[in-house]
Homo-oligomer: 444 residues x 2
């Protein structure tokens, strides 16, 4: 019987653990699920006889070392910066390990050690990063094989609310970490290259330089640039490509309205607002507006940010309750923390809400002196609030990859991301069975 160790039983582990337990008999697996929070692990394993939940502190070297003995495969769902010690132990013990997280430089440096120990350390195999790599690389490899020359690559992903649960003016709810949504785009200019020209977008313009895309059956979306598109040139072996752009998707209109908070300074996480504890939503907004004894906060905001009273932005802002006299109720909070609190009151999922993952790639290339264009898109809607689209699209690629390693289909060793055909082809094939199917179309 093959022993699988899952470290971390948070929200993103649900679908993966279910897959492991569902396939345990057929594949002859036994699944140990460890988490600091025993209850969380127990919830995920349920009363399955093919798995066992246990309290586990993966940061304790002895506890970890003991638990890793006799495992055939490890999946680490820890926060990204905590994988490294687990990986080092796995290399020593000759155990393959998977994480969905971005590969760190420290991780990359373990490549040779992993290869020498005949160990696979698979990273970036969730949804973004993960399915984006696999679905893009599949088409890029096809184009290369045909002898095509890449002219541009654009790629957008978004974690959104499903159309059937989309019932607010922002067409948005928090389907994942709210803090990341509030801070999105901060920490440096967005960088990309277009027709051979390097382009830079500062945070204060990020949400005004959007691109609109349309997906058959799902309507229009808008994308804003991710922080660094340039690094994907080396990741995808596209060193000389004239255009590469990666972005995040929202429903059309979101970014223009969100930009109001950016312009106000309400997404700033670098200082604490004085007296935040006793502040109302209205006070919070007023703290970014000039003092004026006569005009209302509403009027001052409109005037400051040039919002016409019949602009849809205005409805969005009002609907959030930012002008209300409700207390913020957070002590020593930054603007970003206060804004998050206000948004959580409005953008939280209701009991039956479903989330949605949307991915869209555009490839243009020259083949036999003719310019060609391919669009590839995938829309996936969650089942409920446990098996969300986010949980499925992060967890199932990990789980399928685990199966393919354990059954010998994937033989590659070393520190990897899923850009090799040997990996992405079988993973994507099985993902289709779960409804994660990419629709490709050639555009004239």
């Amino acid at each position: 019987m093959k022993q699988i160790l899952v470290i971390g039983a948070g929200r993103s582990s649900s679908s993966m653990i279910k897959y492991f337990l569902d396939n345990a008999v057929q594949e002859n697996w036994f699944v140990r699920v460890g988490d600091m929070d025993l209850k969380l692990a127990q919830e995920k394993v349920g009363n399955s006889s093919h798995g066992e939940a246990f309290a586990f502190n993966a940061l304790n070297p002895e506890e970890r070392w003991k638990e890793l003995q006799n495992k055939n495969l490890v999946v680490s769902m820890l926060p990204a910066h905590l994988h490294i010690e687990v990986v080092k132990d796995c290399i020593k013990l000759g155990i393959d390990i998977i994480t969905p997280s971005y590969i760190s430089n420290e991780m990359k440096e373990l490549h040779q050690a992993a290869e020498e120990a005949n160990v696979l350390v698979m990273n970036e195999i969730g949804v973004d990063p993960g399915m984006d790599h696999m679905s893009a690389k599949k088409i890029l490899d096809d184009i290369e094989q045909m002898g095509g020359e890449m002219d541009s690559f654009e790629s957008f992903t978004g974690g959104l609310i499903a159309p059937e649960s989309d019932n607010n003016p922002w067409n948005y709810k928090f389907t994942w970490n709210p803090r990341n949504v509030v801070l999105a785009g901060q920490g440096g200019a967005a960088k990309f290259i277009q027709n051979g020209q390097y382009k830079y977008i500062p945070y204060n313009k990020l949400f005004r330089r959007t691109e609109i895309i349309e997906i058959d059956g799902y309507g229009k979306f808008e994308g804003y640039a991710n922080r660094d598109s340039l690094k994907y040139r080396s990741v995808y072996n596209l060193e000389g490509i004239p255009t590469i752009y990666r972005g995040t998707l929202r429903r059309v209109g979101f970014c223009r309205a969100w930009n109001m908070f950016v312009q106000l300074g309400a997404t700033d996480d670098s200082y604490v607002i004085e007296g935040s504890e006793n502040m109302t939503h209205r006070d919070f907004i007023n703290s970014f507006l000039a003092y004026d004894a006569h005009n209302s906060v509403e009027l001052k905001l409109r005037y400051y940010l040039n919002i016409e009273q019949d602009d849809y932005i205005w409805d969005k802002l009002e609907w959030l309750g930012i002008f209300s006299n409700e207390k913020v109720g957070l002590k020593n909070a930054t603007p970003a923390q206060i804004l998050q609190k206000i948004l959580e009151g409005k953008w939280s999922l209701e009991k039956d809400d479903k989330d949605m993952i949307v991915m869209w790639h555009k490839f243009t290339y020259k083949l036999n002196n003719v310019m060609k264009e391919i669009h590839s898109s995938m829309v996936y809607i969650g089942k409920d609030q446990t098996y969300t689209a986010m949980s499925d699209t992060v967890g199932l690629p990990v789980a399928i990859c685990a199966k393919l390693i354990l059954n010998g289909t994937i033989q590659t060793k070393g520190v990897q991301i899923p850009i090799l055909k040997e990996i992405y082809e079988p993973v994507m094939k099985e993902l289709e069975d779960f409804g994660m199917k990419y629709v490709e179309k050639e555009v004239r």
Copy 2:
């Protein structure tokens, strides 16, 4: 004979060293001027028989300790973060020391040690900080003594070009460190309090939230908020004041035009522009604008930033040569470094140009139930490019303070800034002899 040691003979030391040498006979002083760059020190001392220039590395503990022996007073003109070791030695040796720099927390912690050693460590006694403290505190103390209750305090300072040398559309030239001008306002929201309401201005709005002031005989200026006005409440003993605001002065129209660079992202110092070495000014601007095969950089910029073609902003931008095909010629440069290079080509002082320091305070207070308002302003124009307004206003308060310490007028000990009457009164009195006179007027 009293021995004065001056550490650092850079631009800001000129006027101070001249004062020391001019007064050496009468006061019975001998002035040692040490700098890493011997030539710089020699230039400042000239052929005076009352001073001596020498090569000096103040960071070498033994060299420093040796040099400090038998000194009666030390002036440290080192970069702010380098004073601390000199000050520690001075405390051990019982020598009074002066620096024009902002007091650091590390410096503050030496207060008791300095008092116990009967040593005065005077900080923040240049122009800003320095003359701003002294001129403000003088009026604040007067108001307090009369029994007035402070309602608001606003204070602005600017280092500008003198009217007789003001011959460009920005009404601005680099009269001090250009890098600080390009980076001004970055690194956190501006914070102040107005009528009891805390107010925060993010960088992207800083140059749009200006206040216009007028000084008799010198016309209009505009001020943008300094980063932290709130800390001056404790410095000036104004804890409960409803309004406190400190800012930086420019000529009217500067800020609105400068904001264009902020909006573009051209003042960003956090990343390196690809291929900056071979870039032209025009390429630099274009790297912040969307790709467009048909429209010119000029048109794209106008459209992006909403600049009408007859807007004065447009003349300012064009005059800078930002659309020219001149090479930037900087390798691995950040946007801020490139922008600085472009500006230095236009905003540098010509041979006979003179600079100007402008300071303006506004005090409102309640006295016997009547609201009163006082404005206090000082405009000072430099003599030439050695004895600039900046050099005079930074160096003369330091030098005068030195004299007052050496002749026993200032008796205070410990780590100080010039907010005590014992200090500011005699310093300001002598500054008037140099033409640094504050014009006070009561406003109805």
